[in-house]
């Protein structure tokens, strides 16, 4: 459950937006860091160079005022005053150290100008200090090295990196968790909306979304719009039902009278009258209009009404046996084998007559569309996904995959079947009955050829088990 909500939040649109924002923050923090780091380092280095320059000037003045000995004295005085932060070293032309705090003249040091070098304090230890300084050439082959430790700059740099790393981590944590919480909230509201839409699709259009927030936000706007859309759909549906009820009522009586009148005329016509045959055709035409009309009305009534309250417990296995027994002679006439596999008695809750109608329509189709000597199998199964499934398979011509979705549309008929009798309402009625029972109607191709129809009741309409 938790992992599901986490997954939902992580996959949500709002979380993705939050993630994008966190990324923007990180990038801008990084850019800021680079600026600060670069400029800070530069100004610190400039400051160090300034110190070196003033040192250099001091040494130069001393050298000019006195001689080498005066210089040596100044070096020694500086070494005592400055400690480890500074390096002073005076060497002769033979690279012999004359004064200063350097044990060895660093190798690979330029003979003159700005230099950078590191000194390992005690051999074998990793700790070393980096220095920046200048080598000044003096007359008679003497060289003077003055350098300052870069340790402070390095320390400052280190602190800067640390600070910014922590800032980035905190930004990331705050951003992600904030994004997660925000999107979880958004996801919860959106999934409320989508759950409601689902129940409406399933048939209960009277449901409405609730608005609990004191301040109206954009999701509340959406909610309000969905609600007003639902109001309108409900009103339109009501009108359609009203209109079709009116049509039904207004047409029933004239249709009834038309048929009665035709019957009366036929009864009065002499047996050899030439109008007898056309009259009988008219009567059967009227009957097929009445059949279509009744079927349409029945589907509309089933789709509009909620009959689930009148459901009773019934033995679905026995019902299947009854349907098969009724249709067996029809299959036998086409030399088809019709088999029922329903090993256990299963009690479900439903409308007995409607379910009989549904299975009868499916079986009638199977017999009609399967050629002679074909095989039709009806099974009562418990699919792994739960519930109870009536599976009806034939080895007829099947239905092209592109047409499967349209099978339940009113008046839809697969092209190859148009020559056979039928009004294209049989499966619409089955579908309406399935919807009423919250059952699922699905089609799949049979192994070699033919069609399998799955009429699957959800587990909850099965209170006896």
């Amino acid at each position: 459950m938790i992992s599901k909500s986490l997954k939902g939040a992580l996959h949500s649109y709002s979380f993705r937006i939050a993630l994008l924002y966190v990324l923007f923050f990180l990038v801008s923090t990084l850019i800021l860091f680079v600026f600060i780091f670069y400029n800070g380092t530069r100004s610190a280095t400039e400051q160090l160079d300034e110190t070196l320059r003033s040192d250099k000037i001091a040494f130069a003045e001393r050298f000019v005022q006195s001689d080498l000995n005066g210089l040596i004295r100044l070096v020694n005085a500086r070494v005592q005053g400055q400690g480890q932060d500074s390096v002073y070293s005076l060497i002769s032309s033979e690279k012999e150290i004359i004064a200063g705090n350097l044990a060895n003249w660093p190798q690979k040091l330029l003979p003159q100008g700005l230099v950078e070098f590191t000194i390992t304090h005690s051999p074998g230890k990793a700790k070393s200090t980096s220095f920046r300084g200048e080598v000044i050439k003096l007359p008679d082959g003497y060289s003077l090295l003055i350098a300052r430790s870069r340790q402070r700059i390095a320390n400052a740099q280190h602190r800067l990196v640390n600070t910014f790393s922590w800032a980035a981590i905190i930004t990331l944590i705050l951003g992600l968790s904030g994004g997660y919480l925000l999107s979880k909230r958004a996801v919860r509201r959106i999934s409320n909306i989508s759950r409601l839409c689902r129940t409406i699709v399933d048939g209960d259009i009277s449901q409405r979304l609730s608005i609990v927030h004191p301040v109206q936000d954009d999701l509340d706007d959406l909610t309000l719009n969905i609600n007003s859309m639902l109001d309108k759909i409900e009103r339109l549906m009501g009108e359609i039902i009203q209109v079709s009820d009116n049509i039904a009522h207004d047409m029933r009586t004239p249709l009834s009278n038309l048929r009665l009148k035709l019957e009366l005329i036929e009864a009065q016509a002499a047996s050899d009258s030439p109008v007898r045959a056309p009259l009988q055709e008219s009567i059967s035409d009227t009957d097929s209009i009445i059949d279509t009309f009744n079927a349409l009305l029945r589907i509309s009534k089933l789709q509009a009404g909620n009959k689930a309250a009148q459901f009773k417990s019934l033995n679905i296995s026995a019902l299947l046996e009854d349907v098969l027994e009724l249709y067996m002679p029809l299959a036998e006439d086409k030399q088809q084998s019709l088999q029922l596999q329903a090993d256990e008695e299963i009690i479900i809750s439903g409308d007995r007559d409607l379910l009989f109608q549904a299975v009868a329509n499916l079986l009638d189709n199977a017999i009609k569309y399967t050629p002679e000597l074909g095989q039709i199998r009806v099974q009562l199964q418990r699919p792994e996904s739960g519930g109870i499934s009536i599976v009806l398979c034939d080895n007829g011509p099947g239905v092209p995959e592109s047409e499967v979705d349209k099978l339940c549309h009113r008046f839809y008929r697969v092209d190859s079947s148009r020559s056979l009798p039928g009004n294209g309402l049989g499966l619409s009625l089955v579908n309406a009955i399935a919807t009423l029972h919250k059952a699922e109607l699905a089609f799949s191709p049979n192994q070699a050829s033919g069609l399998c129809v799955h009429f699957t009741f959800p587990a909850r309409t099965n209170p006896g088990l």
């Binding site: 009278n257 079927a295 029945r298 009148q310 002679p329 009989f356």
Partner: protein, 248 residues
């Protein structure tokens, strides 16, 4: 008024031999659509019934309570008083004559409502005259011959409900359970027209619309067993209406 039997060769409006000996059957029709009522009256008269008609529910109830009718046909949606109320009041005042509902409300639920109110049969509009006539005949017959029997006989065909045996000309005939039930219903209504819808409702006990004429297939199965091996056919098809077990 003269009482005549018209012979109808088409079989749409049938004549019933049994009626000859009986009193003329008087039927009350409570129907607010004048044209429908007119056709029904014509159809009934053609079939030797006499008929009284009123479009008003209130008047209908008053007439019905006189209890002089063999059968009452009631529409459900009527001015002044609806059909359900009429039937309930009739049954409350102990009027036991058969009542048939004729209604535009054709759902199974509506049918159940009608039958629960006390009606004996329920026919949805639009309907065929032949269907109405067959049902009227069945109701009136049921009303006049109330004693239960356990054996039925027509010509040389014999059916025993207790031993569940069927024989014709002393030859035993094996029937499937449903075929037995079908033949029983036909035997109980011998010499009457029985429609396909009546067979579905009474023999199969499910209310549904078969897309195919599935009943015909079952009848022809039954026919091969009870008629085919013998000289004289007993189970006849009545065109445009249904079937009839008929001797001669």
């Amino acid at each position: 008024m003269q009482f005549t039997q018209e012979i109808d060769p088409t079989g749409v409006f049938h004549t019933y031999p049994g009626l000859k000996e009986k009193q003329r059957m008087h039927i009350l029709l409570i129907e607010d659509d004048i044209q429908t009522a007119e056709y029904i009256i014509k159809g009934l008269r053609k079939n030797s019934y006499t008929c009284e008609h009123t479009p008003s529910g209130g008047d209908g109830l008053a007439l019905a309570l006189q209890n002089t009718y063999a059968l009452i046909i009631v529409d459900r949606m009527l001015p002044v008083m609806d059909g359900i109320t009429i039937v309930k009041k009739l049954r409350d005042s102990d009027m036991r004559k058969p009542v048939l509902f004729l209604s535009a409300l054709g759902d199974v639920d509506e049918r159940v409502t009608g039958l629960k109110a006390g009606a004996d049969d329920y026919l949805a509009k639009p309907f065929a005259m032949s269907e109405l006539l067959a049902r009227i005949e069945a109701l009136i017959r049921r009303d006049t011959q109330k004693n239960q029997v356990s054996e039925y006989q027509i010509a040389d065909l014999h059916l025993d409900l207790l031993s569940r045996e069927v024989s014709r000309a002393e030859q035993k005939i094996d029937l499937q359970p449903r075929e037995f039930k079908l033949l029983t219903y036909l035997m109980q209504h011998q010499e009457q027209v029985v429609t396909r819808m009546m067979l579905l409702e009474n023999v199969w006990d499910y209310h549904f619309d078969p897309q195919t004429n599935i009943i015909d297939v079952h009848i022809s199965r039954l026919r091969t067993k009870i008629d085919k091996p013998f000289d004289k056919p007993l189970l006849h098809t009545v065109r445009g209406a249904g079937y009839r077990l008929h001797d001669q």
